[in-house]
């Protein structure tokens, strides 16, 4: 069901605004209405929205947390100990103090990183017996060590005539880079450097303190890196010790910032008119008394409570409230769209029809219980939203499994149960086997019958909802309204009477005219009649164009009744498909022997449960969305989203 809402306005004088906001920001469950409709419709109304100065401070605080590896806890404050300027000064001073030390660590780490790269580069030259100093101090030649991205190597072939020598070392495919060097004469140094820069060449500098052959250079570099790393460990320890001295005060500051931030957030919804200010929004009807009590300490605040739909400028939000049994199916409703406040909540319908259809299509006692168990475990331990849904549809599947007499595809396992039931009731009770020829056709017809009943129910629900919303044109003349109900219902009843009771004279001119022709004419004329009810011209663009368009639309409407009804044939189809697939599993089990039989049974059942369970789940969802929701549910509502959910 959809929770009843109330439209409330909090009004006070401008000088008490801060006081109002202090109480407002700690109230949970207020869905604010946008100020725009008021500002646009009330002359002189102004908005109190302003930039939130806390945002950059939060960013700075977060940066400190990240830098220090700290997690500053939140301690909510409901009053301020200092001004925002004081808070800002404190945060900046703290950050500056910490960031100096932090920057020194970062620089040291960067240095170590670059030296590690230098080590990797020098290793490429390890076999050379030339002193590095000789290479770098060449008089006429410039030498660059570095890395090139592998994906630009192809470009090199275009520069074969350019004055440089390229020496590749080794490729690091994981990092998409090639260690290399290039040589050029000093005359072309700048040109070739630009060329390689344009190819994203990353130069690696060999530190100046490195001398001698590559072998001795490696020793010097590794020694330096080790010393630097020890230094970093010490600096980090000092920094953490320093950070802890600030931690307690930072917790306090963070709480105050959050409180301030909420105040600025709330100001977006404040409208001023003269020296009066107000906040308008929605709360749940059952919360009205608690809401009034919350603001009772401030007598200057006036609270006006009205019907949720009393002001056409605001669309009331929707909060769905369902019991434990149907609640998990709410995810399918959310997937389609939030029902509008005046609509019906289709969750209960989904819960019933989804479980029913899934159970029929996937009826197997053993597999149903297994699905239910898996669903329960997924919901309990993995917190998956689909878990509780699986539990419910699994139980439905198990129930229908009892009707079909199937347990993991085995049709004899439950025979003792039927024998016991037969003796209990004094009559033979046998399961329905879908694959029996006498059953198959009846099964298919029954599923179409269930489908027709569901469609009819949807039309009834839609008609009631439209009457409730005073949308009389839709309620009376729509294909999903009273006209559609008469047309579709009469044809169904007629066919039923003919098939079950052999009554042949249902479709006569006396019944066809009022129950088929008249509803069709009304459906055809729905749009003009809708305009007529709203005192508009019935055919604003002429009758000719309307007739052609309306004729084809009517054709489509009639066709959709047929196709939507036949769409439920898939329900019967999947009953047969399930029985067929399990027949294959049973055949495979019979072909195997010993442990092979168990393996075939386990794998076969897992395969059928995984594949067919998924397909049936999707097919039922398709039936829900296309054949049911599209008839009675528009999903154009907005979600009840309180501005402050927790303190």
């Amino acid at each position: 069901m959809i929770e009843k809402m109330k439209l409330v306005s909090l009004t006070t004088s401008e000088k008490h605004l801060e006081n109002l906001l202090r109480y407002f920001v700690v109230y949970q469950g207020f869905h604010p209405a946008s100020t725009e409709p008021i500002i646009h419709s009330v002359h002189g109304a102004i908005s109190y929205a302003s930039n939130n100065p806390c945002e950059p401070l939060f960013t700075e605080l977060l940066e400190m947390e990240t830098n220090l590896g700290l997690k500053i806890k939140t301690k909510p404050e409901i009053c301020l100990l200092g001004t925002i300027d004081e808070i800002q000064q404190y945060i900046e001073a703290t950050h500056q103090d910490i960031s100096g030390a932090f920057k020194r660590i970062k620089d040291a780490e960067e240095e170590v990183k670059s030296y590690r790269e230098a080590v990797a580069q020098v290793r490429n030259l390890e076999n050379l017996d030339i002193a590095l100093d000789d290479l770098f101090q060449a008089k006429f030649v410039s030498l660059r060590f570095g890395k090139l991205p592998l994906d630009v190597l192809q470009r090199l072939q275009y520069y074969t005539e350019s004055p440089f020598i390229f020496v590749p070392f080794h490729e690091d495919v994981n990092k998409n880079e090639l260690w290399c060097l290039y040589l050029t004469s000093n005359v072309y140094e700048r040109e070739i450097d630009n060329l390689f820069t344009s190819m994203f060449f990353e130069r690696i500098h060999i530190p100046a303190f490195v001398h001698g052959t590559p072998g001795s250079a490696l020793i010097a570099l590794n020694q330096y890196i080790e010393e630097k790393e020890n230094e970093i460990v010490q600096m980090k320890a000092d920094l953490v010790a320093k950070a802890h001295t600030y931690e307690e005060h930072l917790i306090l500051v963070k709480g105050q910032l959050q409180f301030l931030s909420r105040i600025y957030q709330a100001r977006q919804y404040v409208v001023g008119l003269g020296d009066r200010v107000s906040i308008t929004g929605f709360i749940e009807e059952k919360q009205v008394e608690a809401f009034k009590k919350h603001f009772a300490p401030v007598p200057e605040i006036e609270i006006v409570v009205r019907e949720a739909t009393s002001d056409k400028r605001f669309q009331p939000p929707t909060k769905l409230h369902n019991n434990w049994l149907t609640r998990p199916f709410q995810m399918f409703v959310d997937m389609y769209g939030i029902p509008s406040y005046k609509d019906i909540d289709p969750t209960a319908i989904v819960a019933i029809t989804y479980s029913l259809l899934f159970g029929i299509m996937f009826g197997d006692f053993g597999q149903g219980l297994a699905v239910a168990l898996i669903g329960f475990l997924l919901g309990k331990f993995k917190k998956m939203a689909l878990g509780p849904v699986m539990t419910r549809i699994g139980l439905s599947s198990a129930f229908f499994g009892l009707i079909y007499g199937e347990t993991f595809g085995n049709e004899t396992f439950l025979e003792p149960l039927y024998a016991w039931l037969s003796s209990l009731f004094g009559r033979t009770i046998t399961p329905i086997h879908a694959m029996e020829t006498s059953v198959t056709m009846n099964l298919l017809l029954a599923t179409v019958g269930i489908g027709a009943a569901i469609i009819l129910s949807m039309i009834v629900i839609n008609t009631i909802a439209k009457f409730k919303n005073k949308d009389y044109a839709e309620a009376l003349f729509s294909s999903n309204g009273l006209s559609g109900l008469f047309f579709y219902g009469f044809i169904l009843i007629g066919i039923l009477l003919q098939m079950l009771f052999g009554i042949q004279n249902v479709f006569t001119v006396w019944t066809i005219v009022p129950f088929i022709v008249l509803p069709l004419i009304l459906i055809f004329l729905k749009e003009p009649l809708h305009r007529h009810l709203h005192h508009e011209k019935m055919f604003p663009d002429g009758f000719g164009g309307f007739f052609i368009e309306g004729f084809f639309e009517l054709f489509e409407v009639v066709l959709s009744y047929v196709t939507n009804t036949l769409s439920f044939l898939r329900v019967g189809g999947f009953v047969l498909s399930h029985a067929g697939m399990m027949l294959v599993v049973n055949t495979l089990m019979a072909m195997a022997s010993g442990a092979g039989t168990i393996v075939a049974a386990v794998l076969g059942n897992l395969f059928v449960m995984g594949l067919e369970g998924l397909i049936v789940g999707i097919q039922v969802l398709r039936l829900e969305f296309y054949e049911m929701f599209s008839r009675c549910f528009e999903g154009d509502g907005i979600n009840f989203d309180p501005i402050f959910k927790e303190v």
């Binding site: 991205p149 994906d151 192809q154 072939q157 275009y158 520069y159 990353e202």
Partner: protein
């Protein structure tokens, strides 16, 4: 439609689902540096493969833009190689566009300063899939050598009449128009060759709508930046059967380029897309194409239409990302960058 076509449609839709969505753009618009953009894209399913081995810290603007363009090329190629269809020639359209861009980049080299590196401007990874000799192309220094480098391709015949033109006499926009005409001629020829009935009409209409938009942008640019005379502008525009000459003349006759947008809407050859069209005419053209492509992507079951829609969306995505990256680089406000994006 054939099963192969259905498979291609499914593949395209699945790839489209990975394209950047409005919430991604909103997130990207909040980026403060190229690093932020790179970090975001690296986590995004569409770019995570191409950026997986690239360190976001070492990425600069041009490298990131290059990788984004390369990613689009890889995706288009993946689709072209996904199935073999009898209308393959139509799907090669995006490669034709890249070939044109390559030749135009070479021509730009003729009129650019010495520092211009043509290799940097061309998609050299295309050479495996093109009949053009890229190596020879990059060595061309004037039209004569360019025509020689293009020997054996249909472009040699197209550019032969210009062989004698000297570099200082090149009017670049003429060649832009020449290749644009060639592109559309190729597109219409392939549509005519491969498709019939409503599919042909829809595809032709989509291309005509695109030509019309590009014509409008051309009028705007030629008037605003080059001061070209009305008669010359008209000779450069590509005619379509949908906009009558009188209406075209009316638009060309508009004196203030800033008023072209109102003119387009007032004479009824375009739809009003609100403030953004007013502010930025290119946005208007892209927005119109976006609406057509979205219709194809969501409602069509015919692979050529869906493919065209994907080609456009991916091109638009590259363009949007480029705007964001350039905007961040030149410290343009978030609102101004947003006004240039279409999503």
């Amino acid at each position: 439609m054939s099963f192969v076509g259905n498979a291609l449609v499914a593949k395209i839709r699945s790839m489209y689902s990975e394209c950047l969505q409005s919430e991604d753009y909103n997130e990207l618009l909040r980026s403060r540096s190229i690093y932020d953009v790179a970090v975001f894209l690296k986590k995004h399913p569409e770019y995570k493969d191409i950026l997986a081995t690239v360190s976001e810290a070492s990425l600069n603007r041009s490298r990131l833009e290059g990788l984004i363009r390369r990613n689009r090329f890889n995706h288009m190629l993946k689709l072209m190689q996904f199935v073999t269809l009898k209308d393959d020639s139509f799907y090669r359209l995006c490669l034709i566009r890249m070939e044109h861009d390559t030749i135009l980049a070479v021509i730009r080299g003729f009129i650019s300063p010495d520092e211009y590196d043509v290799v940097e401007q061309i998609p050299y990874y295309l050479d495996r899939y093109s009949s053009m000799n890229f190596l020879a192309l990059t060595k061309a220094t004037d039209f004569k050598t360019l025509v020689a480098a293009l020997e054996g391709t249909r472009y040699a015949k197209m550019l032969k009449p210009y062989s004698a033109i000297k570099n200082q006499d090149i009017r670049y926009y003429e060649f832009e128009a020449l290749f644009e005409t060639d592109y559309y001629q190729y597109a219409f020829a392939k549509i005519k060759e491969n498709y019939r009935g409503k599919l042909r009409k829809d595809l032709e209409d989509a291309f005509k709508a695109r030509i019309e938009m590009e014509n409008m942008i051309k009028v705007y640019r030629l008037k605003k930046y080059y001061g070209v005379k009305n008669e010359e502008i008209k000779s450069i525009l590509i005619p379509t059967s949908r906009v009558c000459e009188k209406k075209l003349d009316e638009i060309i006759a508009v004196k203030d380029p800033a008023e072209i947008y109102q003119k387009i809407v007032s004479i009824g050859i375009g739809t009003d897309v609100g403030d953004k069209g007013q502010v930025y005419l290119e946005y208007y053209g892209d927005h119109m194409r976006y609406l057509i492509a979205r219709k194809f992507m969501y409602f069509s079951t015919q692979s050529p239409k869906v493919f065209q829609a994907y080609a456009f969306f991916s091109e638009l995505e590259v363009q949007n990302l480029t705007h964001i990256i350039e905007g961040i680089r030149y410290q343009i406000s978030e609102d101004e960058i947003r006004s240039m994006l279409v999503f």
